[in-house]
């Protein structure tokens, strides 16, 4: 079954370009703002939108994303509200959308029902931070048939023999966490990146996205030299926090995102 993520990444890679994946917390500061940001991001050249569904206890996230989730919850954002927001985005845009969240909100919504409703709303992929394959591959409860791409994380600490296990049930793309630690900006790009990406490619033909700690066009270019897609999160979220109440929020954030997207698209040529 055709999927926007697969098509988008294939189209870019065919052209020799790399993808920019932009993360924001849905509902930060409001779901209306999220919809406007999505539309502005598509125009600014973002290739995949990663939308955080807020959770009260985001233990894999650094302070910037924690505060974004808190703002989103404060503005009354619910799981159903996020899905409705995606439905509205879909009226105007075919930008591929991945939902990024933790198990408990999905579990309380109903694991299977969530997959069905998210797909119906126009979501293309799902990244559940705290659902490793060790849990869902053995569980009837958590192994649903769904058109949603199942994005898997690979960490710097993941041993080579485990990479095969992680890639087995993955689809869409693989998400390599370039740094040990929580989400957040870092000043430099990990040196071991090229080696790790090469290692992952031995186990899978899926596109490889690299994220955690990337914030500038220079970093995007450096990472795009090795990866197929680059994820930028906290830097964007921080900009949203700074301009959250302003009427031209979407334009202001898009102005930050556009050079990042350009850097990603030029990435392959920079090698």
């Amino acid at each position: 079954m055709a999927n926007r993520i697969d098509e988008q990444l294939a189209r870019l890679l065919k052209k020799g370009q790399k993808a920019l994946i932009a993360y924001i917390a849905a509902g930060d500061p409001t779901l209306d703002a999220t919809r406007a940001l999505a539309i502005a991001f598509e125009k600014a050249g973002v290739d995949v939108l990663e939308l955080g569904v807020p959770f009260s206890d985001p233990l894999a996230d650094g302070i910037v994303n924690q505060m974004a989730a808190a703002r989103a919850l404060e503005s009354g954002t619910t799981v159903a509200g996020v899905l409705e927001c995606v439905r509205q985005i879909r009226r105007e845009s075919q930008l591929p959308i991945v939902l990024y969240t933790y198990m408990n909100p999905v579990y309380q919504y109903g694991f299977e029902r969530f997959h069905a409703d998210a797909a119906a709303a126009g979501v293309d992929g799902l990244l559940l931070l705290d659902l490793p394959p060790d849990e869902d591959q053995h569980s009837a409860e958590f192994s649903v048939q769904s058109p949603l791409r199942r994005i898997r994380l690979i960490a710097p600490t993941t041993p080579p023999e485990r990479i095969a296990h992680l890639t087995k049930g993955a689809s869409g793309f693989l998400y390599y966490v370039s740094r040990e630690g929580v989400t957040g900006e870092r000043s430099d790009v990990a040196e071991s990146l090229a080696e790790r990406v090469a290692l992952i490619r031995q186990h899978s033909t899926l596109p490889i996205a690299v994220g955690f700690g990337i914030s500038t066009p220079e970093q995007v270019r450096a990472v795009a030299a090795h990866a197929d897609a680059v994820v930028v999160g906290s830097a964007i979220v921080k900009r949203i926090a700074e301009h959250g109440a302003e009427p031209d929020l979407a334009e202001k954030v898009a102005a930050l995102v556009a050079p990042l997207a350009a850097a990603a698209h030029a990435g392959a040529q920079a090698q």
């Binding site: 959770f55 009260s56 206890d57 985001p58 233990l59 894999a60 650094g62 924690q66 919850l73 619910t78 799981v79 159903a80 933790y102 198990m103 408990n104 909100p105 999905v106 579990y107 309380q108 919504y109 931070l129 705290d130 659902l131 490793p132 060790d134 849990e135 053995h138 898997r152 994380l153 690979i154 960490a155 710097p156 600490t157 993941t158 041993p159 485990r162 992680l166 966490v177 040990e180 630690g181 929580v182």
Partner: protein, 402 residues
């Protein structure tokens, strides 16, 4: 009969509960910990060293004390107290901290982190880290730091860095989030000494195993004293480590009833308590699938308890399973009942209990009179109340429990 060897299964499940619901960054460290623990527990040298420090450093075995005056006053079953409060550092938490620091050393870790609620686990961890000469960082909710200031000072004297966590409601849950963030970041050289029978596999199993000595001792002691097994075991349940430690060796003793006592706070209304089996639902939090307090959208609810150690939104997964099996019953005690029990035990037996353990005593006060003098109850007195004196004085001297 419960197949104890299958608790948990290979992947850390207790029936439908437990498991490893963590970010990929932690999977490798958790798998390494599991593997090292498997080696350690079959290693006689490890077991001997642990036994020796439990005896000489921590002060085991702890007495099983016949509470004669309380028994007479209540006029029912004979009451025995398992005196974990007499251990070095003042609570059962040292059993697990000593076990885990030996594991950390075997794994070559040079830095220790932990979360703490009431501060007892933090003090125990700071203590064992000092003894091992390892750097130690303790995460503690800012609210808990205020109500357990004495323990904060103790941790600092022991050389630990205490980091205040101000997120959310600034209690135990947020401290665990922050400890896990630290661990994700420093996982290669840091060991996380989780302090209760919760979180991702293998912690619920490891913590239980290091505390089962409470039940092993109590079982031998009561057989010696009474020449029979007890009719009832009682323990308070936050994450559930002291309770599972006492209960575990009795699980297949059919005649022994077991009751875990949760924190009823100001009463069972949303946000006012921490009794997961009263108002909770099945969910996933901080690495494990278990009963927790969440709203219908999956957001974790606020909790309240006068006792920082029980003020937590989820219960250890093994408790959820043993409750399903009907093997352990669960009740709750309110703040007021716990404070009353705190005073009663102090005045009748000359033992000031921790506010956590006071919840178990509160249940005892209600239950013992309904039992026969020929029956026997063992209550886990999991910690001493020195840390709570300032807080209790502030509440009680303002006119006593409402």
């Amino acid at each position: 009969m419960i197949d104890l060897a299958a608790l948990p299964d290979q992947r850390g499940h207790f029936g439908p509960y437990g498991g490893m619901f963590v970010p990929e960054t932690l999977m490798t460290a958790l798998n390494e910990l599991s593997a090292e623990y498997e080696r350690a527990r079959r290693d006689p040298a490890f077991q001997q060293e642990l036994a020796a420090i439990l005896k000489d450093f921590a002060g085991r075995p702890t007495p099983l004390y016949f509470a004669q005056r309380l028994t007479e006053q209540l006029g029912g079953a004979k009451i025995y107290l398992k005196r974990e409060d007499l251990l070095h550092t003042g609570a059962h938490k040292i059993n697990n901290a000593l076990g885990q620091i030996l594991l950390a050393r075997r794994m070559g870790k040079t830095r220790i982190i932990a979360e703490t609620g009431a501060g007892q686990h933090g003090v125990a961890t700071a203590t064992v880290a000092a003894r091992a000469g390892l750097e130690c960082v303790i995460y503690m909710g800012a609210v808990d730091m205020e109500r357990q200031a004495l323990n904060v000072a103790r941790m600092r004297f022991l050389g630990a860095k205490v980091v205040a966590v101000t997120a959310g409601q600034a209690t135990l849950k947020e401290a665990i989030n922050e400890a896990m963030r630290d661990w994700v970041t420093n996982v290669r050289h840091t060991h996380y000494i989780l302090g209760s029978a919760l979180g991702s596999h293998p912690y619920p199993m490891i913590v239980r195993d290091f505390h089962r000595i409470i039940g092993d001792e109590a079982r031998a002691q009561i057989l010696e004293r009474e020449h029979r097994l007890p009719d009832l075991l009682v323990a308070c349940v936050g994450g559930g480590s002291n309770a599972i430690g006492l209960f575990w060796p009795f699980l297949n003793d059919e005649g022994v009833e077991m009751i875990g006592v949760e924190a009823g706070g100001r009463g069972i209304q949303d946000g006012d308590h921490a009794a997961r089996f009263q108002g909770g639902k099945l969910g996933v939090l901080q690495g494990t699938k278990t009963y927790l307090l969440a709203n219908n959208d999956g957001q974790i609810q606020l909790t309240h308890s006068v006792s920082a150690g029980l003020d937590y939104a989820a219960i250890g997964p093994e408790h959820a399973y043993l409750r399903d099996l009907g093997r352990i019953g669960y009740d709750f005690a309110t703040d007021d009942e716990a404070l009353e029990a705190f005073q009663r035990l102090s005045q009748v037996e000359g033992i000031i209990p921790a506010l956590e353990s006071s919840h178990a005593i509160a249940y005892l006060l209600k239950r013992a009179p309904k039992m026969q003098p020929s029956q026997v109850i063992v209550v886990n007195l999991s910690g001493r109340g020195d840390k709570d004196v300032a807080q209790a004085a502030e509440i009680l001297l303002k006119g006593g429990p409402r």
